[in-house]
């Protein structure tokens, strides 16, 4: 046999609550040569993780491998017994999960967990395993490789933990490593280090890999070949360069198109004097007990000032932990600011939402990142959207029902959806309902807190388009908070860069190519490009990285 992995006509079925059989993988064939990295790309629900797990002979609870062969290193994983599969896992095939933070045991040290594989499979004595682990730590460019193993998982950063999870996978000298969205939860500046480390280790060891992701740009950096999945079927397969430059399948083209959002047309009256809708002076908010000077112990947002003009959008960008969400919550009054002046539509606002008037609350709406938790799972969509109508506008039942239809239409959802519960909607649909509820209040300003980060690229770009359209129709203003530069670029007139609770720089989208502040430079240069040579060609100022990067 010529290839390390040969999957033939694989079918995986799941049983629903009603006892109905659903095919998740509908006859997929796939080859991986020795040392080749193949990326599985597709939207959520396309079956990419299910396919990746099946290479280990594993099917998640409720699923089973119904037909087909999974030959890995000459053995049919589908036909082996669970005991025989267990022998191969960790030695022949290894797995790097999406969330390393959830996969490490917080109660034991990192070294113990990294060398656990060698203990279970009796590969080498513990002393030798520790040495090997330190070599891997060094190869993955982790800081202080000799001693990092003695730490506990909560004592290292997210990006480091993800690399440690890779070390755990590599210690058994596997022939195939499965990466399941390993950088999705990381900041762009961190993601680069992790990707670089993965790539160099895999190349040095000649290890074959399967890289599951929905981010085409990340995949372009690391994969030799790309397999595009949708609805459990392979849509297109080809080398990375082929897929990126000459995609054949419409779905692949859609994915590529979504990656380059149409830049926002500069408004015709850009120079005309506009009235400020919201202006904030020296806002400070944080956590912990107040110090004698009235400031909180930990300042998450430190004297930030900003202005949002009527009908214009402000983007706030920064990595996780930079205080951008706290800023949003302080403006909305959820987390009252300690110091600072918030003037909204000509009137000064109380810091706490509870003291603001009903109209002030109505005119400023906030939309959260996770529609899953922002929508009450026990209520149908119509009740969720109708509540602000009854609460703010006092509409009777018939008027409410009519308005709910209009709002659903506005966010491009079919009317029949109003009887569904949130759990019966897709991620993009949920986010639209979430947005429709904010629109129901007839606001002047909508604060969007990372509303597209939980969505797939294609769905996210559709949501952004919708937001732009609604703005034209309803004269809204947005404060758009995100860690994704391309999203902010697509919709905002002004971009504010935050770092460590402070406003670093404010620029317009057309000047993104030439930021003046060093942190903005680092941030903007870290956004992956579709060009497969981008990562290898990337040269970052080491001084900048050591100053602002979290390594």
């Amino acid at each position: 046999m010529s290839n390390l992995v040969e999957v033939r006509n694989l079918k995986i079925q799941a049983t629903t609550d009603a006892g109905r059989l659903v095919e998740i993988i509908k006859g997929v064939s796939l080859d991986i040569a020795d040392g080749e990295i193949v990326a599985l790309i597709g939207e959520s629900g396309s079956g990419k993780t299910t396919l990746a797990l099946s290479l280990m002979g594993h099917a998640r609870p409720g699923c089973r491998i119904a037909a087909g062969e999974i030959n890995v290193n000459g053995k049919d994983m589908a036909a082996l017994s669970e005991k025989e599969r267990a022998k191969l896992r960790g030695t022949d095939i290894a797995y790097v999960p999406q969330s390393a933070a959830a996969s490490f045991n917080p109660a034991s040290t990192i070294m113990e967990q990294v060398i656990e594989v060698t203990r279970i499979h009796r590969l080498m004595p513990p002393e030798q395993a520790r040495k090997r682990a330190v070599e891997l730590f060094r190869a993955l460019s982790l800081p202080d490789p000799d001693n990092i193993g003695a730490r506990y998982p909560h004592q290292v950063s997210g990006g480091q933990l993800q690399r440690l999870a890779a070390a755990m996978a590599l210690i058994g000298d596997p022939k195939l490593v499965i990466f399941d969205e390993p950088t999705t939860a990381l900041d762009v500046t961190t993601q680069i280090d992790v990707l670089k480390a993965f790539k160099s280790v895999m190349r040095a060891g000649g290890i074959a890999g399967v890289y599951v992701s929905h981010d085409l740009a990340v995949v372009a950096q690391i994969a030799d070949r790309i397999l595009v999945l949708k609805g459990g079927e392979v849509q297109e397969t080809g080398t990375t360069a082929q897929i990126l430059s000459a995609a054949q399948h419409p779905y692949t083209q859609e994915l590529l198109a979504a990656f380059e959002p149409k830049p926002r047309q500069a408004q015709a009256d850009a120079d005309a004097a506009t009235k400020p809708l919201l202006s904030i002076e020296g806002l400070t908010a944080g956590y912990g007990p107040a110090k004698p000077d009235g400031l909180p112990l930990v300042r998450a947002v430190d004297s930030v000032s900003l202005v949002v003009e009527k009908g214009r959008n402000l983007g706030v960008i920064g990595e996780s932990g930079c205080g951008k969400s706290t800023l949003a919550r302080a403006i909305a009054g959820i987390h009252p600011a300690a110091v600072g002046e918030i003037v909204f539509d000509g009137k000064e606002l109380e810091p706490a939402a509870g003291k603001r008037s009903r109209d002030q609350l109505r005119e400023m709406q906030i939309v959260f990142q996770y529609a899953d938790t922002a929508l009450n799972p026990a209520k149908p969509v119509e009740d969720i959207i109708a509540r602000p109508l009854a609460f703010y506008h006092g509409l009777d039942k018939r008027a409410r029902s009519k308005r709910v239809d209009e709002l659903l239409d506005m966010v491009r959802l079919p009317k029949a959806l109003r009887y569904r519960h949130p759990s019966e909607l897709s991620g993009g649909q949920k986010q639209r309902v979430n947005f429709a509820r904010a629109l129901a209040a007839n606001p002047k300003l909508i604060i969007c807190d990372e509303i597209t980060s939980a969505l797939d690229t294609v769905v996210a770009s559709a949501v952004i388009e919708l937001l732009k359209e609604l703005q034209r129709e309803l004269e809204l203003s947005y404060i758009f908070i995100s860690h994704d530069l391309s999203v902010v670029e697509a919709i905002c007139d002004q971009i504010m860069v935050m770092y460590n609770g402070e406003r670093v720089e404010q620029i317009t989208p057309d000047k993104v190519k030439a930021p003046s502040h060093p942190y903005s430079k680092l941030l903007f240069s870290s956004v992956p490009k579709l060009d497969p040579t981008w990562l290898d060609g990337l040269v970052r100022d080491p001084e900048l990285v050591s100053q602002y990067g979290h390594r």
Binding site: T16, D17, A18, G19, I334, T373, N376, R387, F391, E424
Partner: protein, 282 residues
């Protein structure tokens, strides 16, 4: 899901249920009907001595034998259902309603109200339940209202703790934050946003607490502090006929079986509640 598990579950009206749950529900339904219609179906008045012998065996006319005074056991068990089910149901309704409402208010309001309520009810919880019942009944005498209130007070702290723990989790969700910044009142938050999300575990807890109360009421009656003669619930029936144990009299076994069948059925029903089928395309 294995094929065996799939076979033992049936579906109806978008819910799937299994046979154990149905059987348990039927037993509970039967006891409820008995409790409602007892006065019309008893063959003899409960106070009448109808047998020449005491602890009589089962025979025609006296289907469950006679008790220690020669009264008809069937009639007494049927009427006992009334008191056991009625008092327990009233007590558990009061306990769960007040406990759950207080728990949700504490979770939503937080701050000093939460602290005071929680500490006060924790203190209540630390009093042994049977002892508390004994003291109250000894102090104010035993009557049906006193029994209901005592049992309710004993079980409020547990219901409060349970509901608060559930509500605290829901309270951190974003949709609660959204409702708060909309300016909603506490009443709306607990009634419309939190309650629908905790109602299933709260109902399960309701059933479980009902079982505890049946057992505690039976215990109190067994000690002679529950219902007073000539009225008798199942616990009292066991106590007054305990002398029949050496004779293997049905009079002592039947009320025990009645208590067991009701409590076990409620437990089984809670474990096998119908589940809503979540199947988007079906």
């Amino acid at each position: 899901m294995t094929t065996r598990a799939a076979a033992s579950r049936r579906s109806l009206l978008g819910h799937s249920y299994n046979l154990v749950g149905v059987a348990a529900a039927l037993v509970i339904l039967a006891w409820t009907l008995v409790a409602i219609f007892a006065p019309y179906i008893i063959p003899h008045p409960i106070g009448d001595i109808v047998d020449d012998d005491y602890f009589g065996p089962m025979r025609q006319g006296l289907w469950l034998g006679s008790d220690y005074l020669g009264r008809d056991m069937l009639s007494r068990v049927l009427m006992g259902a009334r008191y056991t089910v009625g008092i327990s149901l009233a007590a558990v309704s009061i306990a769960c309603f007040s406990g759950v409402v207080l728990g949700m208010i504490a979770a939503v309001t937080g701050g000093w109200l939460d602290t005071c309520l929680s500490r006060f009810l924790d203190a209540m919880n630390s009093i042994p339940s049977k002892l508390f019942g004994l003291v109250v009944v000894a102090a104010v005498g035993s009557s049906i209202p006193v029994l209901i209130l005592t049992l309710a007070v004993i079980y409020i702290p547990g219901a409060y703790r349970f509901a608060r723990a559930l509500a605290v989790n829901i309270n951190t969700m974003d949709f609660i934050t959204v409702a708060r910044v909309r300016g909603e009142s506490t009443a709306y938050l607990i009634g419309s946003e939190i309650l629908p999300n905790i109602i299933r575990p709260v109902l399960a807890d309701f059933g479980l607490r009902f079982v505890f109360i049946v057992l505690l009421l039976s215990g109190l009656s067994f000690l002679g502090l529950g219902l007073q003669p000539p009225l008798a619930d199942w616990g009292a029936l066991v106590r007054e006929n305990i002398g029949g144990l050496p004779f293997a009299a049905p009079a002592v076994i039947v009320p025990s079986l009645a208590i067991a069948s009701l409590t076990i059925s409620v437990n089984l029903l809670i474990d096998n509640l119908p589940q809503k089928i979540r199947d988007r395309d079906a």
